[in-house]
């Protein structure tokens, strides 16, 4: 009985099963890379420390993009920052997720008419979860993380796949806003 059931599984199905197991580990151990660009970053210390204790969800801060799973973008993104953000995002190992915190990442927020601040983050990197608010409560931030876990469970957190699938579109948007993504700056030559 068992053996017949076993043979039925095609390679795709085996892969899917493995992927589901992997998803279980991934959603219970989300390591964050905090790209603290704006004021919303102030909501993260209470989320991490004893008041809300993010660690009980298995989340924790990480030092480098290579180690991290989630990229937190907390606040407005100037053009100069966006270049570094894209570079950092591309360095992360897959599967990777992006959480945009604060109104500025959604529609520019109070900087919507600035010459230096972009309006929609998801045109440049794929965003899985947005947390609205200026700035959002810590509860809202925590809720955003729980939502992300739910999305991973239901296989909807596919931003990183989208980045591969629609890479030209993202590249074109980046080019339209930034000109060149990778720039030379004299302080690191």
């Amino acid at each position: 009985m068992l053996s017949t059931k076993f043979t039925k599984l095609s390679k795709e199905e085996v892969d899917r099963k493995w992927w589901e197991i992997g998803d279980f580990f991934r959603r219970n151990s989300l390591w964050m890379l905090m790209y603290c660009t704006g004021c919303c970053a102030i909501e993260l210390p209470p989320a991490m420390t004893s008041a809300y204790d993010m660690e009980r969800l298995g989340m924790g801060p990480m030092a480098t993009p290579r180690q991290a799973d989630v990229l937190l973008v907390t606040g407005y993104l100037s053009l100069k920052t966006l270049r570094r953000l894209i570079y950092t995002y591309e360095q992360m190992s897959e599967p990777k997720y992006v959480v945009g915190i604060g109104s500025c990442t959604i529609n520019g927020g109070i900087y919507h008419d600035s010459h230096a601040v972009i309006n929609q983050l998801n045109r440049y990197v794929p965003v899985d979860v947005y947390v609205a608010g200026c700035m959002p409560n810590t509860e809202a931030v925590m809720n955003g993380f729980v939502d992300l876990m739910g999305l991973i469970k239901t296989k909807k957190a596919n931003g990183w796949k989208d980045y591969h699938a629609r890479n030209e579109w993202y590249m074109a948007n980046q080019k339209a806003a930034l000109g060149e993504v990778k720039v030379h700056d004299e302080f690191h030559e």
Partner: protein, 301 residues
């Protein structure tokens, strides 16, 4: 021979499971110290398996080869580790120096791989790790010299059995100064707080691990857990009289590791030169005076 090797692999696996669980429990303990709820006790397993499931990057063959060498060296070392006096894979060959020097293969592999990533922060982290090693190893070795001189054997089981004799105390009690030095060196070995200079996430971006992600980082985590297993159980065998049965071993192991964790959770981080100066001031003086007192004067409690 084959059964011995399989048994040794079993010991390494046991060490991994034991240390990973206890490390998870200890994350909870530290959480409670900081008035937090803390993660699940099996959180460390989740972290490791998640890392193994990710798609990582590599910087060339040396980057991968170093990781394999690191994990392989540590698994090899753990295979020699006795659990109780009877549960030992290669009886009579569990020489103390094997543990000290075969662990170094793992360290070398990791250092090599980290430097091979081409990141300067990794090299700085390796530099700090090696400097810390220079600091804690010498006082520890002097204390172990005293122990080996007193017991007349450098076999770890032999030392543990010597302490289990009715006429002898544990070396933690018999050599009180040496025991304190042992605890301090152990904290350096497993990289706990005052001496975790080489990790320093906010300062050098987690040092040697800066470029790792995915399976390489997962393998290094496994390596780290087994390394801690080797070092803490070495302490249990050398200073706390080993264990007559597995349960006692786990209890002693848990107590040692938790104590170290609680101590470390209230400390800040030393600078690297402070680490060296610290170990070459009091611990080494204590170790040398303990050795003189025990070997030349014969004063052992």
């Amino acid at each position: 021979m084959i059964t011995n090797i399989l048994f040794g692999v079993g010991v390494a696996f046991f060490g991994f499971v034991l240390q990973t669980s206890i490390a998870g429990v200890n994350r909870k303990v530290v959480g409670r110290v900081q008035k937090r709820y803390g993660p699940k006790w099996y959180q460390e397993f989740l972290d490791i398996f998640k890392l193994l499931s990710k798609r990582s990057v590599t910087h060339g063959w040396i980057f991968d080869f170093g990781v394999i060498m690191a994990l392989g060296g540590i698994i090899g070392t753990a295979m020699f580790m006795p659990i109780t006096s009877d549960l030992v894979a290669f009886a009579d060959f569990d020489n103390f120096f094997i543990f000290v020097y075969l662990i170094a293969v793992g360290m070398l592999g990791m250092a090599m791989s980290a430097s091979g990533s081409g990141n300067p922060l990794a090299s700085i982290g390796v530099m700090r790790a090696l400097t810390t090693m220079l600091a804690y190893e010498v006082p520890f070795m002097i204390v172990v010299l005293t122990i080996i001189k007193l017991t007349g054997t450098s076999s770890v089981t032999g030392i543990a059995e010597f302490q289990q004799l009715a006429s002898n105390n544990w070396f933690m009690i018999a050599l009180p100064l040496g025991g304190i030095v042992g605890v301090m060196s152990l904290m350096g070995m497993i990289g706990k707080k005052p001496f975790e200079t080489y990790i320093a996430p906010a300062e050098i971006a987690s040092g040697p691990m800066v470029e790792y992600g995915g399976k390489q980082l997962g393998m290094l985590f496994i390596m780290h857990e087994i390394t801690v297993f080797i070092e803490v159980s070495l302490f249990v065998h050398l200073f706390l009289g080993g264990a007559e049965n597995v349960v006692l071993f786990i209890v002693k192991y848990f107590l040692v590791y938790t104590t170290l964790n609680i101590i470390s959770s209230v400390y800040g981080r030393f600078k690297i030169d402070q680490v060296v100066l610290f170990f070459y001031k009091w611990p080494i003086l204590m170790a040398i005076s303990q050795a003189f007192v025990a070997i030349y004067l014969g004063w052992v409690i």
